[in-house]
């Protein structure tokens, strides 16, 4: 193998390494939203809730589109904004392994994605609260400390990606506020996370 093709191969591998995880959607992400990565640059000043990701078929019907209103987000409703930003995949939670507070590739991808939006023109006006959560299998008091560590590791990662540290607050809920009430691995996996919440 000559130098040239080696370099080419390396760059192809690099591109794959960078792009493939970025395209991977986490469990809770809405599958139909294929436009996630490209939509980031296309959203208008006030985020518009357009029809979600039905970009598969070309518009071949004859229905008059002008009779359809477009839905806009009420900028003052922060809960709705959070739901919208999460459903679009702009803001993604980082998930952890059991008793771990290190960021695996999926968690890094989620945070990279979130950092991009937070630095963009739509996200730049919001602050962020990162909640650290743990599953029920540890002890309560230690898990409060573990949740603090998870929230801060997510914060540090966002800061290294260029998000202003002054915009980010953290809080640990330990195992006090589970997302799923079940007592199985599927529920526990959902409950081990740094949960990103947009705040004013």
């Amino acid at each position: 193998m000559n130098k040239m093709s080696k370099a080419l191969l390396t760059s192809v591998v690099l591109v794959l390494v960078v792009i493939v995880p970025a395209c991977k959607t986490t469990k809770k992400q809405i599958k139909t939203d294929q436009t996630t990565t490209t939509a980031q640059t296309q959203v208008p000043d006030i985020p518009v809730q357009t029809d979600t990701g039905t970009t598969v078929a070309p518009n071949t019907d004859f229905v008059d589109k002008s009779a359809e209103p477009t839905e806009e987000l009420i900028p003052s409703d922060i809960d709705e904004l959070n739901r919208w930003a999460a459903s679009k995949g702009f803001i993604r939670d980082a998930f952890f392994s059991y008793d771990e507070s290190t960021l695996d590739a999926d968690a890094q991808t989620s945070l990279t994605n979130s950092a991009t939006w937070l630095k963009g023109k739509d996200g730049a006006s919001y602050n962020l609260l990162i909640q650290g959560h743990c599953d029920e299998r540890g002890t309560e008091q230690y898990n409060l400390a573990l949740g603090d560590r998870r929230a801060n590791i997510a914060k540090d990662y966002l800061v290294t990606l260029g998000v202003d540290a002054g915009r980010i607050r953290t809080v640990s809920y330990g195992e006090e506020r589970p997302f799923e009430e079940g007592h199985d691995e599927a529920s526990w996996a959902q409950n081990r996370r740094a949960h990103l919440v947009l705040v004013r």
């Binding site: 540890g138 002890t139 008091q141 230690y142 006090e176």
Partner: protein, 441 residues
Amino acid sequence: MRLAIEITAPHLRRAPRGFAFLLLLFLASAAFAQTEVTTTIGANQAAQIIRIVVPFPELAPSAGTATTPIDSGQVRELFFAPLTRDIAYSGVFAIAPPPPGVPITPDLLKRISAQYYLKLNVWIEGEEHVVEGRLIDASGQTQLAKRYRGQAAALTRTAHLLSNELLKALNGRPGVFLTQIAFASNRTGNWEIWLMDWDGANQRRITFHNALSILPSWSPDNERMVYTSFVRGTSEMYIINRRGGGRVSVSSGVALNTSATFSPVSNDIAFVGSVRGNPDIYLIKDDGTNIRRLTSTGSIESTPEWSPNGRQIAFTSGRSGTPQIYMMDAEGTNVQRISYDGNWNDDAVFAPDGERIAYTSRVNGRFQIRVANLITKENHIIAGEGSNEQPTWSPDGQWIAFQSNRSGKWQVYRMRADGSDLLQLTFTSENKEPDWSKKPE
């Protein structure tokens, strides 16, 4: 008048005879000074259970007749039931049932091998209930006589006061009948701090944050509690008095502010603080001044707990790779690892003797309460159903309260330090994080 002093603490039984004798002398003289009774101590009386007859009260004065009608059901529920529960669980008495319809005489006591008879009278004078208790021995002599007066609502506390006096008179030291257990309950929809009597009765809410409020911990004088609340969005420490008033926040300036616990000897509070995601053990004065960091590893440190003399702090650290129990001097020096069993240990609490700790230990995927002797290094598991966490000792070292999810929900339970006499104390919604008050009275 006679007073038998009983030594039931196992570590005292194992102590050398000379030492035990000196201790008995000391206890005897202390008891003498307080109660002005002469004492006779027999070594073979030590582990003896005292049999006592406790019939339902006569609902009239001991001399004369009742003038105001009295609700006997109320007397049974609020007075007689808690009184007999206290006596039955005292570890000192066994209740001897007398044959029905027979007057209780010294002869009868001898026949059923009972040493004492607790004669009770309850009646109403004006607006108030009057309660009289007389402890009569097998020779017919009155060893103790007590009278209490109060509203019907005071009947239960009267029962605990009387049980406590009985125990003091016959055992030389008070029981735990007047102690309180603080805990967190979500029965209002939010986790708030609640209190209950030692037998689970009289459960009442003392915080009204309408926000996550957890981990109550008593002050050494039983007057205050420190706890963590998220009422202002992040977790902060608050101090509240036992009646729910006088709330102040303790602003540490660092994050987390969990697992707060009062020093038994100073106005320091030990707690878990965090700066930039590094949870460590800190001290702070109860007025929020003079914050000091005691640990400085890069790992997670959590769950501090003072030794009874205030010189040491047990805590949990992840420095070995898994959460384990460590001990250090109160200045943060001389750190020693205590737990080696299993891959998750937390919630260490000292018994009042300072020689034993109880902690939460993972065994086969579930948590169990483990009791370790710090001197002999021996430890044993008190096994139970489900997961069992957050032990807390009664101030006499005889009992451990803890939380268990064995019913499918977190509830608070109580057991003897050897695991016997298990009793569920809470039933409504979910309840956890018990903390037993520090003084018997």
